[in-house]
Assembly symmetry: C2
Homo-oligomer: 357 residues x 2
């Protein structure tokens, strides 16, 4: 029985990249995918980290995802790009979409990229970061397979698609990275309650029959509810419109489930809008004003005595700093998945994983 482990980020990246290369992915692309997956674990978003490696590899093996996609970018206007993702890994399509939106924003102030025929793209914050590191603010939207009811419904229809917005940091302040599921809680929280045998609050989820439940197991097998009822439902529906209807991908409950739909590609869509922060003010003013915003926020009296006010993305950035230093914790389940894939592909395990296998 494989045990949990702590692995240094570079070794984890090398392992993940080697597994994707073994499945036919080009080395540069495999490095991109490994970067994104390990980035999620570094930031504490384990639900979108290396634990998903087996399902991505499975879909590559079965040909449901193209290992060497032909990604086609067309200029619709000088500021708008339409992208056919060629059924490639979502990481590659989303990075390309972000790069195209950013390059247009640099010239014209704002740029948009719409991608169809893509797949699950992991953690949205990866692409926010790509944009802010290139000096742009950005919205990154995706649609996703049905997991939530639309407000008023009781069957899966909407994705728990993340709403994601990022803005470059100011003078001495970190990048602002807002990456939030449109569900009331992350599915992982329900899973933890289930494992602990604890109930969940009413209003988090419905059971399989669409009835409200406080039973974590019934909820895990059922449906997560949208954040704030009609509000989270509306935000997720907005992404169905932007990344689904407008982008030309599947929409309205038709996006394939990465785990369950073994007979067809997912046909996920993405939309990225990038904009320069110095359109109405100078770049210098931007950095000064962002720093002032953060300073004023942090000077607010805190709800908890001795508490601290953190900007969106700041808790994750702190965790990343710590984990880059101390290593990335990998659960027993995720370690088992990686070890099995490494054995299958004949890829060497880093010592930290070989020890627990």
């Amino acid at each position: 029985m494989t045990r949990a482990a702590v692995v240094a980020a570079p070794q984890l990246r090398d392992l993940v990249a080697a597994l994707f290369v073994a499945q036919g992915v080009a080395p540069g692309d495999a490095a991109t995918v490994a970067h994104c997956l390990v980035e999620a674990d570094l930031r504490g978003v384990a639900s979108h980290g290396v634990g998903r490696v087996p399902v991505y590899l499975k879909r590559l093996r079965s040909g449901l995802v193209a290992a060497r996609p032909v990604i086609v970018v067309e200029d619709v206007t000088p500021v708008a790009a339409r992208i056919d993702g060629g059924n490639g890994l979502g990481f590659l399509v989303a990075r390309r979409a972000t790069a195209e939106a950013v390059s247009r924003a640099r010239t014209y102030g704002i740029g948009i990229a719409l991608a169809r025929r893509s797949n699950h793209f992991g953690m949205a914050a990866s692409y926010l970061r790509q944009a802010v590191e290139a000096g742009c603010a950005a919205f990154v939207f995706t649609n996703a397979s049905p997991a939530m009811p639309i407000w008023g419904g009781k069957a899966p229809f909407l994705g728990t698609s993340p709403f994601a917005f990022g803005a470059p940091g100011g003078e001495g302040t970190p990048h602002l990275l807002l990456d939030m599921a449109t569900s009331v809680v992350a599915r992982g929280k329900i899973r933890r309650a289930m494992v602990a045998g604890e109930p969940i609050p009413l209003g988090w989820a419905l059971d399989r029959d669409g009835e409200p439940t406080t039973d974590a197991t019934a909820a895990y097998e059922g449906l997560i509810l949208p954040l704030g009822g009609p509000k989270g439902s509306g935000l997720s529906l907005m992404m169905e419109v932007l990344a689904g209807v407008l982008a030309g991908s599947a929409f309205g409950g038709k996006v394939g489930n990465q785990y369950l739909d073994d007979d067809r590609p997912q046909d996920v869509g993405h939309m990225v809008i990038a904009l320069r922060p110095d359109l109405a003010i100078t770049a210098e003013d931007y950095r000064r004003r962002m720093a002032a915003l953060v300073a004023r926020a942090k000077a607010c009296p805190t709800a908890e005595a001795g508490g601290e006010i953190l900007m969106p993305g700041e808790p994750e950035a702190r965790l990343e700093t710590q984990r880059l230093r101390d290593g990335v914790p990998i659960s027993a389940e995720d370690a088992a998945g990686l070890c099995a894939e490494a054995r299958r592909a004949g890829v060497a395990l880093p010592a930290a994983l070989a020890d627990v296998a």
Copy 2:
């Protein structure tokens, strides 16, 4: 004592326009303002309707808002406009910003307008509607005076700024208009509980000292909490960045309060992004796909037996149809405000209001 009334929309618009003209606003601008305010009441958003006429007029009278603003539009790039609102009424600045973003989107696929030196713009859905009626999808963002704590804080810092997104309707389906406060509930709900002498759920609000409360009166005098904790806080902060920091207006708790700050302009900022829905698909495909999205959503099994699934903006559109036919209900408090202003300006009241005055 003035009583509640029901007034036909055209008469209500004429009254409101006449009141603004009497305060020095140009007739065309006054008609725009009246249109937006009555539109809010028609759609059931009384908090942003004619009940606010007295405060807008008061600020015009005291010179804190310019009756005849010089609104200056500069092209930063072919797709980006920077707007100085000239401290005009927010309705006028936001309509201009929306028109500028839409005209750029029509040519280039996407367009952005950033406005500073504006004021409270009423109901965001007014500008969404302007954009979708011109055939564009749009984001309409504003910042606002502090009314909510940032997540982790207990003093007012963020506005309960609405997140607003709209998309043109499909073949036979209404426009999709998502206009949602970033607070857990509308302030009006707390007010109603206070008037009814009922408690409110824990988690809606803090009292004046920043402590959680179920007392509606203490909550009304205190602070509304953000939707979903860090999520609503993050969305509101995003608008501080986009409509405040980037647009060049006040930000970070410095936007003036329309009711309380009698010594300075509000300096509100807005950002509008408009985009054509036919960038990656044809206009015909767009109408067909939107209609399919709505049809699939409405075919979902409903949570309540015999229930109905409504799209964002659909309940408001139904109410508007009904109120255009039957008249707009005006509360006793709002009727009193309108009657007092009409007397002061020497403007004739419509019969329905004269009867209750």
